[in-house]
Amino acid sequence: MIQIIPLDQTLPGMVLGEVLMSGSNMLLPLGTVINTSHIESLRHCGVSEIAVLSPSERTIAEVDEQREALRGQVERLFRRAGSNITMKALRRAVLEYQLEKLK
């Protein structure tokens, strides 16, 4: 989701949610990770507010990564479990538990 926030509330690390234009000039492309010098020059250009991606979207990639890491961790713990039915059910429950915790 894109949020419009005042420039004074913009923090380094936020990600630009749409192309930032000044008239027909592009100041910054979509997806720019804002740093302090960006904020400074935008202020000089008279920009008062910008569109940034809300944190939840910024971290989707991170969440995917964590989910994969959890899967790997559970696989590792069960690497000698074989095909026993109870162990399979246990592995499923543990994976569900870990993934639910992530939410």
Binding site: R76, L77, F78, R79, R80, A81, N84, I85, T86, M87, A89, L90, R92, A93, V94, E96, Y97, E100, K101
Partner: protein, 279 residues
């Protein structure tokens, strides 16, 4: 390297520093049907290391006390004697065993797994409405045979570790291959010698093979608590493996996977409390 037998390890238990008289006396006193708070407090205070650890644990979030308690009689009053009894038994044994010097053995990992299993066992006992004190203590001591082996037969213990790493097998399989016996037998012999309640002795002896046990025994709980502790990564690490969960024990416990996940969450939320064991 010469061979060792289970009998040799058991005979060697005499070499363990004896449980101090003050702790014997305290544990013995706590077995009475009627105990007096003043008497218990007096007996704890006789062992300063025990008293200090007891206060530290009682003031951790482990017991969720609303206020800090500064004196032993306060702890006993606030916790209630029943809960305090668990704590005393566990703390006494851990305090005692931490005086053992075991070079080249990861004691931190050992105690974290033990404390994690104790937490899981207690959560299970609460869920099943059984004796939480015995579950906690059995969880804490279920692998004590490993520590004894590492302390008194370090070379053999290292061979077991090497075998396990080379074959990436379960530690108990490595013990059986290398030694011809395993930590459950050593631990049970110790618990018997120290006159722990029979159900704790049996739980230590059979936590890897609960199949033949009667329903409702502490064995099933410790069997599952051990599995839970590995799942929750007490102590964690890349080598760790979830022990084999017996379908017989699982069905007898009748917990179900939904409840199981809730219990994992409960223990996960208290995981920092396992650290008391290291303090």
């Amino acid at each position: 390297m010469s061979e060792i037998t289970l009998q040799m390890v058991v005979d060697d238990l005499d070499r363990l520093p004896a449980l101090p008289e003050v702790i014997w006396d305290l544990m013995d006193y706590l077995q009475r049907p009627e105990v007096d708070v003043g008497q218990v407090a007096y007996r704890i205070a006789r062992d300063p290391a025990l008293a200090a650890k007891f206060l530290r644990v009682a003031n951790s979030s482990f017991y969720g006390l609303q206020r800090q308690v500064a004196t032993i009689p306060d702890v006993l009053t606030v916790l209630g004697l029943r809960a305090a009894r668990t704590l005393i038994n566990g703390v006494a044994v851990v305090t005692h065993f931490q005086t053992l010097v075991v070079a080249g053995y990861d004691q931190r990992a050992f105690w974290l797994h033990s404390a994690g299993t104790a937490l899981c066992a207690r959560a299970l006992a609460r869920e099943l409405g059984t004796n939480m004190e015995n579950s906690f203590t059995a969880g804490l001591l279920h692998d004590i045979g490993r520590l004894i082996l590492a302390a008194h037969f370090p070379e053999k213990s290292r061979s077991v570790t090497t075998y396990r790493a080379e074959h990436d097998c379960h530690p108990i399989e490595a013990e059986q291959e290398v030694l011809g016996f395993d930590h459950t037998q050593i631990g049970a012999a110790l618990a018997l010698r120290w006159k722990f309640p029979a159900e704790i002795v049996v739980a230590i002896a059979s936590h890897h093979k609960p199949m033949g046990m009667p329903a409702g025994s502490l064995v099933d709980q410790i069997h599952l608590a051990d599995v839970m502790a590995h799942v929750l990564e007490f102590p964690g690490g890349n080598d760790d493996l979830v022990p084999f969960l017996s379908n017989v024990a699982w069905n007898r416990l009748g917990i179900g996977w939904v409840k199981f996940k809730r219990l994992l969450g409960e223990v996960d939320a208290q995981r920092n409390d396992a650290e008391w064991v290291l303090s």
